[in-house]
Symmetry: D2
Subunit: 156 residues, 4 copies
């Protein structure tokens, strides 16, 4: 089945590629040569750049970066990664993501890396900040609604 890269894929397309229905959004890409470690596996740090790149798609789709440059004002506060299986050169994968919890100025996201089955699972806590990089700012109301309606995010 044809896989389209670099565009947000919806639930129906994701399901057709084996991604469970509780992931609302995913973006496909392919492993590149420079992402490999000396053993020929994707190196551990490369996955973080994949999650970061997914966030560009996600924050655009959910209205979080309206009037702001991409990922500006968004700071990663905590990260958890469960490396279940490794990926290899030329392998197709889909990075999925969703917001599971939201607080006043921060929210928790989950990411998956699927290639056939789930290879990597990750959780991240992101904080919204002003241009000074430290003053926290609240999640806009319409973004909270999108988190809740599309992802089923819980207010914590």
């Amino acid at each position: 089945m044809d896989l389209r890269y670099h565009i947000p894929l919806d639930r129906a397309t994701l399901r057709a590629h084996g991604v469970p229905d509780d992931w609302p959004m995913g973006v496909a890409d392919r492993v590149r040569f420079h992402e490999l470690d000396t053993l020929g596996h994707v190196n551990n740090a490369a996955y973080l750049t994949w999650f970061e790149n997914f966030r560009v798609h996600y924050t655009t789709a959910y209205g979080l970066t309206r009037g702001r440059p991409q990922l500006d004002g968004l700071v990663l506060r905590a990260l958890n990664v469960d490396y279940r299986a490794s990926l290899r050169l030329g392998e197709d994968y889909i990075v999925t993501g969703r917001t599971t919890q939201m607080r006043n100025t921060s929210f928790t996201m989950e990411y998956g890396v699927f290639s056939g089955d789930l290879k990597v699972l990750s959780t991240a806590v992101l904080v919204l900040v002003e241009a000074d990089g430290t003053t926290k700012r609240p999640i806009p109301e319409e973004v909270r609604r999108a988190f809740a309606e599309r992802d089923g995010a819980q207010a914590a």
Copy 2:
């Protein structure tokens, strides 16, 4: 027009995307967030990883890596890059490549990065080596033929 990523594109498809006819092969991809520098442009080193990734497609298509892991036995000896214009986040590009000259154990490739027009042009000298990483080995005869017939490479 629809652009397909991560697969070798032929001359007809390349021409339809504005790539001149003298490039026999190209592979499309899209700028990712972690490739940007502090000014929001693709950083200079990222292009080298693009050329390297193109070489995986190219050496496979031209039979250079038959029976060998990808890019094994291929060493970059010299590099020249002409940065004509910068690329930005989310921009589509096509990396093109061709062999222009071949010697007994080394060959010269050219690479282009196209997005609308030519943004970056590069030349590289690559040497074939044995498993020890230093002993040179000759370019196989069928690869020489492919370089000459498909790319118009000159024996130097």
Copy 3:
């Protein structure tokens, strides 16, 4: 006070640079330009390469890589990172590390990034594997002793 880079620092030296006594080993380095994100902070993935580089020093010092290439046979299974504060260009830092728990074929390490105070804290689960990359192998007895005696690691 003079800080020496790229060599394992002992407890006395670490204490002199503000690192608490429960970290048995640390290695100093300085933030480089290409590690910055578009906001001028060290990007999230760069820290993982710092921890990885620290592991080369650590596994050598603790005898884990005897007769093996560096980090060969060591797979990262899980990772947790707590980004408390960001680092900037040219800033000196010390990456510290210790093993807190050991099982038959895997162990848990903690890492700290100190610059003045603790900026980043991380936990990782590492698995020892054979050359095939998947078959697990036990932690050698003398390494277990080193984990216990030098780091106070607990058998779990």
Copy 4:
């Protein structure tokens, strides 16, 4: 002999480490794990990040970034790299640099990577631009003097 990392080394120190006298400045560092390719050699793109990091030291020392953030307003236009020999994990190296030619709004630098002898030699053309990223600006007079007096740069 003791090698100090991360600080500009002068001609006398450089000579003591085998760097020829025509290099006015150098900065030492050590190869890190994540800079290796699948063969255990430093990957080709890593050297560019070394030259970039050297430029931070150089432009500060020569007054080029006065009142500007590091490397802001400096664009790489062309690059040439001659990879003579490869470096390995944990190897110490010194990146040297000098300006050889200067024009009104651009200048040409040379870089060397020394470890025992010269491993990599590179030439780069850099352009000074305004905050818009495209309008060229002239090299300040006192910087031209520093280029000429310290490096022997020729006006072209």
